[in-house]
């Protein structure tokens, strides 16, 4: 079609512009407080190596807007050097034939020995590294405001049953139990943790990774759906459309007691000057203490039209995996380093706990990819599942059986 010409034209323009300085343009969606700080770390590291950092930040929590911007750039033959893409989406982009291999860097720096195999596999397309992981997020966290719990004389829930006891006590004390953001990805983030707590790691793998029809329609799934829906009376009416960081702010400011959210929420607590263990608690979502749903942020590298950019790309890959960057970045982001064997002494107790649980889950083979965060299924299937979960949450006439049937249909989306 018209692409080659267009691509050649824009490549020519790029050459003309980039003659003076190697510019590394990086697309990401880290725009909220704690996240923006983390992105600043990366910029500092790259500028230390003499590259010009060009920030290509597109706001919007789940990165939907960023992906739209990225597609436009790739179609016009002018992709950024690297973009924040993760999970099976890496394979989807690989299939489009636009990714650059960074196997040279990976071999030189021995990535295979640094990364757990389950992480390394996600970063490779057809056996070659095309992406560098920067962190491991744990999704199955519950964030707790201990002051409010003390006020209601309630204790931190360890199981699903205890969760409802705690929420009831809070409600009686006139405290809103759950901070909730009613956006499709957040609905599914909460549901995913509940389903893991109700059904366990095996059920989770079968239902959301293998997309097994019988498991999706099983009584366990119905129980998970019912349990999820039972949370609704403990949230407020204004939740629909609320951003996740605003829901986190409700826990920070004492307007609500708990929030189900991945550990990026910690960055918000820290940015507000709160101390983990004292002002807020991080506990595994009820019933999931031994499990670990992971969400790994990674940067994917795109084929570049000129050599300067390739050099910048390789330096970026090295920088992303360097111990100093992985440490400082994750201290800001709230996650833990993707490369193993790093000293965790500078991390707070949430980070240390996450790191230990990650190692234990990796050894016990219970690491579960977070499907709500695009680690388990294609974006089309995930989107169809999102639709069902959000509809179930919002529509009080819909039964768990109907929702399970719809999930089964959604799982067949290709």
């Amino acid at each position: 079609m018209a692409y080659p010409k267009l691509a050649a034209l824009s490549a020519g323009m790029l050459l003309a512009f980039s003659a003076q300085a190697a510019e590394v343009e990086v697309l990401h969606w880290w725009t909220s407080g704690g996240e923006a700080k983390a992105a600043g770390e990366l910029k500092k590291t790259m500028e230390g190596k003499g590259h010009k950092w060009k920030d290509f930040a597109v706001a919007g929590g789940g990165g939907e807007n960023a992906m739209t911007a990225l597609k436009t750039r790739v179609v016009s033959g002018n992709p950024p050097a690297a973009a924040q893409i993760k999970g099976p989406a890496i394979q989807e982009w690989g299939a489009e034939g636009v990714l650059a291999s960074i196997d040279d860097v990976a071999k030189k720096d021995k990535w295979d020995t640094l990364l757990p195999p389950v992480v390394a596999n996600v970063m490779k397309y057809k056996g070659q590294y095309v992406a560098a992981p920067v962190n491991v997020h744990r999704v199955n966290w519950l964030w707790v405001n201990p002051t409010l719990l003390k006020k209601a004389n309630a204790k931190v829930p360890g199981t699903i049953d205890e969760l409802f006891v705690t929420m009831e006590a809070l409600k009686k004390a006139g405290i809103q139990p759950l901070a909730y953001g009613g956006q499709p990805w957040q609905d599914s983030t909460v549901f995913e943790s509940i389903a893991l707590g109700v059904g366990g790691a095996d059920f989770y793998q079968k239902a959301f990774v293998k997309l097994d029809q019988a498991t999706i329609k099983s009584p366990t799934m119905l129980k998970a759906l019912d349990t999820y829906k039972k949370l609704k009376p403990y949230t407020d009416k204004n939740a629909p459309g609320r951003e996740w960081n605003l829901a986190t702010a409700m826990v920070i400011n004492g307007k609500a007691a708990m929030q189900f959210m991945g550990d990026w929420a910690k960055g918000e607590f820290l940015a507000a000057g709160k101390v983990p263990g004292k002002d807020f608690l991080c506990v595994a979502a009820p019933g999931t203490a031994k499990d670990f749903t992971f969400n790994i942020d990674s940067f994917v590298f795109f084929k570049q039209p000129n050599k300067d950019a390739v050099k910048g790309q390789q330096d970026l890959a090295t920088a992303l995996m360097s111990p100093s960057f992985q440490e400082s970045f994750n201290l800001n982001k709230g996650s833990i380093p993707a490369r193993t064997g790093l000293d965790m002494s500078k991390f707070d107790e949430c980070g240390k706990k996450s790191s230990e649980d990650f190692k234990a889950a990796a050894a016990g083979n219970t690491l579960a990819p977070s499907w709500a965060h695009g680690m388990a299924m294609s974006s089309a299937t995930q989107g169809a599942m999102f639709d069902v979960i959000s509809q179930f949450w919002n529509d009080d006439k819909m039964t768990a059986q109907q929702a399970a049937d719809k999930l089964a249909t959604a799982a067949k989306t290709k």
Binding site: Q183, S378, W393, K406
Partner: protein, 299 residues
């Protein structure tokens, strides 16, 4: 001799200059409107995922589209929204125009006030109404603060009613515009007809109903065209006001298309849904154009 050559030259310029001047815009619209429509149509028959590809799958995408529950919610919402929005904006707009037509004082000021919402983008309208209709921030909270504890207005967060909040905001935005169109039309009507009717003893409502409004038929049709295309392509208002939510209860075809094509890696499905939108617009516009052209030829 010399006069004939001169006129020949003149004839050449006269014949070719307009075509030459029009050519760039003709080519641009040919490529960027009709060319892209054709390309989109082609994509709707392919298995395109996150980016366009050309793997032919026939009518598969349309089959998937028609089996998709969310698509039918979007279509139903568009029907509801379109009817209520057009009827509401038209009704309020005409009513305001008739009132303003009574040669009242400070008409200029009032006209500006009613027309002003049109100067806002739908994003601004949507955001403002989102705040006003949010039960915890806006109207409901205000009424509670004033002591009406039983007052509830939670349409924005109620999946059964969320689409009606879009209707409210859209009517607020557009009825001033309808008013301006009809006011202009009303001013164009010959005073002597109205005076003659008054002499015959017709009441004012009767004059408007039987004489003035029927005379405004062309205005009526052009307003209908403008409002219905605003309704079909409505996207920004829904995105800003409800984001298609709660769940996907206030989705419309345009937001559906955007979701599928740009965030879910189902570009083929998105292309199919936009072809359905094109078909809807064509079903409205083609008969109108046909009747317009025919009446012109006759006249």
């Amino acid at each position: 001799m010399s006069t004939t050559t001169h006129s020949a030259h003149y004839g050449f310029a006269e014949r070719w200059l307009p075509r030459l001047v029009l050519a760039p815009s003709f080519v641009l619209s040919l490529v960027f409107i009709y060319g892209f429509i054709a390309w989109n149509g082609y994509l709707s028959f392919t298995a395109s995922r996150i980016m366009p590809n050309y793997e032919w799958v026939g009518l598969d995408q349309y089959r998937i589209l028609f089996e998709n529950e969310r698509w039918w919610v979007a279509v139903q919402n568009l029907g509801l929204f379109g009817l209520l929005f057009i009827a509401g904006a038209m009704g309020i707009g005409i009513f305001l125009a008739v009132l303003l037509d009574q040669k009242i004082r400070a008409e200029g000021v009032l006209r500006t006030i009613y027309l002003y919402p049109l100067a806002l983008s739908f994003i601004v309208t949507g955001t403002a109404w989102k705040w006003m209709l949010n039960p915890g921030l806006g109207l409901e909270k205000l009424m509670h603060d004033w002591g009406f504890a039983n007052f509830t207005f939670d349409w924005l967060v109620n999946p059964d009613y969320s689409i009606y909040t879009v209707v409210i905001a859209a009517i607020w935005q557009s009825s001033g515009f309808v008013m301006a169109l009809f006011l202009a039309g009303l001013r164009g009507i010959d005073d002597s007809i109205i005076k003659a009717a008054q002499i015959d003893g017709a009441s004012l409502p009767r004059i408007y109903w039987r004489i003035v409004l029927p005379a405004l038929r062309p205005v009526f049709f052009s307003t209908l065209m403008i409002l219905s295309h605003i309704a079909i392509k409505s996207f920004d208002l829904v995105m800003a006001l409800t984001g298609g939510g709660p769940g996907f209860s206030s989705d419309v075809p345009a937001t559906f298309m955007y979701q599928m094509a740009f965030t879910r890696g189902q570009m083929g499905l998105g292309a199919a849904s936009s072809m359905m939108m094109l078909a809807t617009v064509a079903a409205l516009v083609v008969p109108y154009l046909y009747s317009e052209l025919r009446s012109k030829r006759r006249g």
